[in-house]
Symmetry: none
DNA sequence: ATCAATCGTGAACAGATTGTGAAGTGGATG
DNA sequence: CATCCACTTCACAATCTGTTCACGATTGAT
């Protein structure tokens, strides 16, 4: 279920938004000031933020900037001001849509749905991971080595994606297992070895002398960097 | 042509609205009390309702509630009161916009246009979707495989359309369910399997070896790409 | 150079995921 | 009110994947 963070200092409005969004099937968290909004954005990793521009102390634009330094989460802005310049600034900072108060909660829901639609099935934004001749197309769950298409299982794909997001960084088997299994049941570390074996068989030209997925003796694995 | 129902007990105001809205190209019906408004809303199925809150006998909010039990028609509210709480109540009940008396008829027209624009914009999507030998004529709800016409149910059509809009992208059963059921009631993921089975039976030459709708083990389904 | 620890690998197993026909449900239609 | 059709749910079989195991190969330290 999608999680939405609603930020507005006017409690009634915030709760109104929450009610409508929850009825539309979203999970909603509320924040009444910029500082809370930031910490919630960091800890809860919402899928979308509904943000009032006219917050006390910390302005909505500041919040936007701060959030943007850390994530690409879509933002729908609310504002009482109607000046065109605000719109431009807001959109430049990465707002995905814009509503002027007073607005109808139904329209808010419609906008939120539209944003999710654009993101979920829109012209897939750059959700591609590249490193050293290997390309991962995340929404398509497709891997390419050079021009050669490689079919991977979802676990193999997750594993490879995790390592490729930070090429050169060494991951322990425990970290890799957590990424794959959502840190649930405990399994043997050697399970990772098996996946690495299969990965290498599928994407290395010579699985005996790996070029991409390298072993770091006594620690774990890493994707080659540079 | 769009039809609009204007509800106001003050005859002069109602007629003023009618004149302006008709000049703007809409077809207008008038009602001077809540009861008439309700029955007209039921029989004429207007595309939008302009509703005065300060009606005698049956309050505008009551009318709104009653209308909402039956339809989702957009409502633009008029009111003499300017209190913020009224605004909120109105919006809570599902008004799409709000005007305070006295208002300029020109502004009313502008708001009405804006509401229609927001609605019509909708999920602007292509009328025809093509991918890999399959063609969907969306407005006609017609599917073709090569030259062969295939009859699909609306759910099957929606499902196929969702996947074909982004060939190759993998969709989870949850995403597909949302697209089909408007992310309302929860149903079993396996319902999607059943639809996929029926889809394949109808459009695959050999349903046991699908060419178009492919399974991605552990994730969901995708329409073949390229 | 030797040795204990670590890693690679193939095969076998267990468990989860999917395909499918049939039965059940609900709303639309006449 | 009866019928039909689409959608959902259920149960079981078929399939695929992830994990484990055992053993040989490799590594790094003494």
């Amino acid at each position: 279920m999608k999680q939405i963070l609603v930020v507005d200092d006017e409690v009634r409005i915030a709760e109104l938004c929450r009610d409508y969004l929850e009825r539309a099937g979203y999970q909603v968290t509320l924040a009444y000031n910029g500082a809370d909004a930031l910490s919630l954005a960091r800890t809860r990793h919402p899928d979308l933020i509904v943000l009032d521009l006219g917050l006390p102390h910390m302005d909505g634009l500041e919040v936007t900037r701060a959030v943007r330094t850390q994530s690409n989460v879509p933002i729908v802005m609310l504002t009482a001001r109607v000046e065109e310049s605000d719109k431009l600034v807001g959109l430049e900072l990465g707002a995905d849509d814009y509503l002027t108060k007073p607005f109808s909660p139904r329209e808010l829901v419609a906008r939120v749905r539209a944003v999710f639609r654009r993101i979920d099935l829109g012209p897939a934004r750059a959700d591609v991971i590249r490193a050293a001749d290997v390309t991962l197309d995340v929404p398509r769950m497709q891997a390419k080595v050079g021009r050669r298409l490689v079919a991977l299982t979802s676990t193999e794909f997750e594993l490879l994606a995790m390592m490729m997001r930070q090429p050169g960084r060494v991951f322990t088997r425990g970290q890799l297992l957590d990424a794959v299994r959502g840190e649930q049941g405990e399994s043997f570390d050697r399970a990772i070895d098996a996946h690495v074996k299969n990965l290498r068989r599928k994407l290395e030209p010579d699985p005996r002398n790996p070029r991409y997925v390298l072993t770091v003796y006594g620690v774990g694995y890493k994707f080659v960097d540079a």
